[in-house]
């Protein structure tokens, strides 16, 4: 499980801000390998609905998942802004995640700008590590391992 960095004064982490439906989420930049445009996804039968299939990323076959479906949000609506974020996780290998839009990269001060969530860690619906405050808006910081993990 990914833990939030110790809340020391001055520790900062960079997040990529993405949009899923109307909500803004942040993904820790250290896990991100690449961001690619939406492309044809080959469906793989008999998988959970949130597993959309596989794509060809420069000669490698990469599985694609929908964060929206996994987290129980409204299904993704494909548009010109839809992107696939390629993340690398030690336990699960390389995975592509469909997001509605990629907005920007923000640097958050872990002490002053991030509110750690007081959720129960075992809650099956908890995909959020904390909430970041940035320019008046709120960004939910995703716990990628929780998003990817099968429950």
């Amino acid at each position: 499980m990914e833990e939030l960095k110790v809340m020391e004064e001055g520790t900062t982490t960079q997040y990529i801000v993405i949009r899923l439906g109307q909500e803004q989420f942040g993904i820790d930049i250290q896990y991100i390998d690449n961001i690619v445009r939406m492309q044809h996804i080959t469906r793989v039968p008999k998988l959970a609905p949130y597993l959309k299939g596989v794509i060809n990323l420069r000669g490698e076959v990469i599985p694609i998942m929908s964060i929206c479906l996994k987290m129980g949000l409204a299904p993704d609506e494909e548009s010109k802004a839809t992107r696939i974020i390629i993340v690398k996780l030690e336990q699960y290998g390389t995975i592509g995640m469909m997001v509605d839009e990629v907005k920007e990269v923000v640097t958050l001060n872990m002490a002053s700008q991030v509110e750690k969530m007081a959720y129960d860690k075992d809650d099956k619906n908890n995909f959020i590590l904390g909430v970041g405050k940035y320019e008046g808006g709120l960004i939910s910081l995703l716990d990628l391992n929780a998003v990817v993990q099968e429950k």
Binding site: H40, T42, R43, V44, P45, K46, L47, L51, V54, I55, N56, G59, E60, V61, I62, P63, M65, Y92, G93, T94, I95, V148
Partner: protein
């Protein structure tokens, strides 16, 4: 001397020698009088000793040295091979394997001196006094000589006048006579390279080159080819015709580095002839105790017969009869091959893209002449890539011999441990498989063999009651079958008692009694492959902990293979393992189901049929077709894959008949796209094993991903 760079070679060769020793000692057990086997063992032990010494592994050297002593005595007829001796020898091999294992892991041989073993070996050596009192002093005389193997003297002594052993045929003699008539000199030379020399063949080559500058080499022993392949111990002999004096030739040879001694003399043809006429001629000359000086003695009778044991360095193999045929090989790091293989994969994908691009532009109706030119080149590229792929695959193929060779020894040990008489018969050891598969297949096979030995074969009393031969038989047969390699483990034992399996499963709660009543024999046998399922009434240290068969199954499935069992109670069982020849690239049939493209390995496909919908019958509410006398169940892929077929249900259906073992099924697809070479890619860690129907993915020429259907799961 820094030898670390040779460590890998050392380990490889040691493993080979140990395997060879294992096999030969087993043979010796069957046929204790076989001189060829004894000689072969002696040679292997000798090489092991030399290698261990060079690398500085003293304990290993000591042990092999003592083994070698025992064999040297066996070879001289001073000791008879006995059962307990074979046991001790096997223990020695185990100890050597332990050293090798330690060296592999830590590059140090460990601290186990194996003194009890050495003592036992020495006991054998000393015991021969009783057998042959006269031989005793000889042996002790020869033993120290061998002991100082790292020094030059004993070997130098032996290698002294070996050129006199060279057999001359009539043409050689004519050449010599001719040369002598012309006033040229004919010399016999024996060259000994230093024991520490690592590139003997290269040194020998330089010697040949040096000599050829001065004259002409007419004969060499061993042959030039064998020398090139390093099939010689430490010395080789030459007959040279030259005008130069002997010293000049000898100096030229000595200028080559790592040459220990050169012994030479001019040849007197008459004497050689005489020599051959003498009855023990061959033996006699070989035993001639040549001094370590540069000059050879006259080819006279041996002065001291006691020198015989030490000097008979070259066993019968030298005479050509029992020489094993060794392939000329280059050792290549498997990673380098993997890189090569990946490049070939990329090339094939690139080729497929070209094919796709060409047919796309074909559709755009470009100039027909340009088009045919492009096609021609693409076809050429296609044949090149296919050939390239095949050769790279072949490079990776190794015979399963390296794995199965250790089994006879294992069965022998099991036979003693279980107190059951059994014999292992193997065939098809030369069958080749991908290196990675061969490496992985050893454990599962070992499990199956142990299983047969322990559970399969009955005790001697039961066998006698059933009127079976007292010695149980286990067979291990390997053969190639199309794109697969089949390995069968068979025994003539008890077979699988399905009732016992059923009761055990009920007892364990794996199945309910109601379920059991409805299960077919085959389904019951399949229960054996479930984790933690063992029907052995008592747990032995051979098998019976229930960790065997499920591991066998998962390991073989991880190699994209499959296991099947056929068993008749009271008659025996057959375990059949089916493995794909290659892992990375396969020939596949591309099909379309509900608008999606899938690849099916050609290996499992039997035929493709055009079937009208009214040929489909219902049997037990399942769809079947009747095809050439067989009833074949029909599997509609669109339903299995959760898509909607794009075909009109009234139209004729395309049915692919596929086979798995002895089961057949027909897959209904919408459309055939044709055969294609595809590169198997993993779908990524995250989803790789989540869909059982799909065994992987591949990238098509247009960049699209197509999934590979695992027909075996559906049948």
């Amino acid at each position: 001397m820094d030898v670390s760079q040779y460590l890998e070679i050392f380990l490889d060769e040691t493993t080979e020698h140990l395997q060879n020793l294992n096999t030969q000692i087993l043979e010796l057990e069957q046929d204790p009088e076989n001189m060829d086997t004894i000689n072969e063992i002696f040679r292997a032990a000798h090489s092991l000793k030399g290698m261990a010494g060079t690398m500085g592994y003293k304990r290993m050297q000591t042990l092999t040295h003592d083994m070698e002593n025992v064999f040297s005595e066996v070879r001289n007829g001073n000791i008879k091979v006995k059962a307990n001796m074979i046991d001790i020898l096997f223990q020695c091999l185990d100890a050597l394997e332990e050293y090798t294992g330690n060296i592999r892991e830590t590059s140090d041989e460990g601290t186990n001196d194996n003194e009890p073993l050495i003592k036992q070996l020495n006991d054998i050596l000393n015991s021969k006094g009783g057998d042959n009192a006269q031989a005793a002093p000889e042996a002790s005389a020869s033993a120290p000589g061998e002991a100082s193997g790292t020094e030059n003297s004993p070997a130098g002594e032996t290698g002294g006048a070996k050129w006199q052993d060279i057999k001359l045929d009539s043409t050689d003699k004519m050449v010599i006579t001719e040369a002598q008539k012309q006033g040229k000199k004919v010399y016999g030379l024996t060259v000994k390279v230093q024991e520490t020399c690592l590139l003997k063949a290269a040194r020998a080559f330089l010697v040949f080159k040096a000599v050829e500058e001065l004259g002409e080499i007419i004969v060499s022993n061993p042959s030039a080819q064998d020398i090139e392949d390093e099939h010689f111990d430490l010395d080789f002999s030459l007959l040279v015709i030259t005008e130069a004096p002997l010293e000049k030739v000898e100096d030229a040879i000595k200028n080559v580095s790592e040459i220990d001694t050169v012994t030479g003399d001019s040849i007197d043809l008459d004497k050689i002839k005489d020599e051959e006429k003498e009855a023990p001629g061959q033996e006699g000359t070989e035993n001639a105790p040549a001094p370590a000086k540069e000059e050879a003695p006259k080819p006279s009778k041996p002065a001291k017969p006691t020198a015989a044991p030490a000097s008979e360095n070259k066993p019968a193999a030298k005479n050509g009869a029992a020489k094993p045929v060794v392939n000329r090989t280059v050792r290549v790091d498997i990673e380098k091959l993997d890189v090569l293989m990946n490049l070939v994969s990329e090339l094939i994908i690139a080729k497929n893209s070209l094919v796709a691009a060409a047919s796309a532009s074909d559709a755009m109706q470009k100039g027909p002449s340009v088009q045919s030119g492009v096609n021609e080149h693409i076809e050429y590229l296609e044949s090149v890539t296919t050939n390239l792929h095949e050769s790279v695959m072949k490079v990776r193929m190794v015979p399963i011999e390296s794995v199965v060779n250790k089994f006879p020894r294992m069965i022998r040990d099991l036979s003693k441990k279980l107190d059951k008489k059994m014999e292992l018969y193997m065939s098809g050891e030369e069958t080749e498989l991908d290196r990675t598969v061969v490496d992985e297949i050893g454990d599962p096979l070992m499990h199956l063999l142990r299983n047969s030995a322990d559970h399969g074969l009955e005790s001697a009393e039961v066998r006698a009651q059933r009127g079976k031969p007292a010695v149980g038989s286990i067979w291990l047969d390997a053969y190639q079958d199309g794109n697969n390699v089949v390995i069968e483990v068979r025994d003539d034992g008890n077979g699988i008692d399905t009732e016992a399996v059923k009761n055990k499963a009920i007892e364990r709660g794996t199945i309910t009694p109601e379920q059991a009543a409805n299960m077919s024999e085959k389904e019951i046998i399949d229960l054996l492959f479930l984790p933690s399922f063992s029907t052995a009434k008592q747990v032995t240290d051979v098998s019976g902990r229930g960790v065997g068969l499920d591991v066998v199954k998962s390991k073989i499935e991880a190699l994209s293979g499959e296991v099947e069992v056929h068993s008749t109670l009271g008659e025996g069982s057959t375990w059949t393992i089916r493995l794909p020849l290659t892992l990375a690239i396969i020939q596949a049939l591309m099909v379309v189901v509900g608008g999606e493209k899938y690849a099916i390995s050609l290996g499992s496909i039997q035929t493709i049929e055009d079937i009208s919908p009214d040929e489909i019958k219902l049997v037990q509410n399942k769809e079947v077709i009747h095809l050439r006398g067989n009833v074949i169940p029909i599997i509609r892929l669109d339903k299995e894959l959760d898509v909607v077929s794009s075909k009109n249900p009234e139209d004729n259906m395309v049915v692919i008949i596929a086979k798995k073992g002895d089961r057949t099924a027909g897959f209904v697809v919408d459309e055939l796209l044709g055969q294609q070479e595809i590169v198997i890619k993993s779908m990524g860690k995250y989803i790789d094993n989540k869909c059982k129907l799909i065994s992987g993915a591949t990238i098509l020429g247009d960049g699209e991903v197509a999934l590979i259907l695992d027909a075996n799961v559906l049948i």
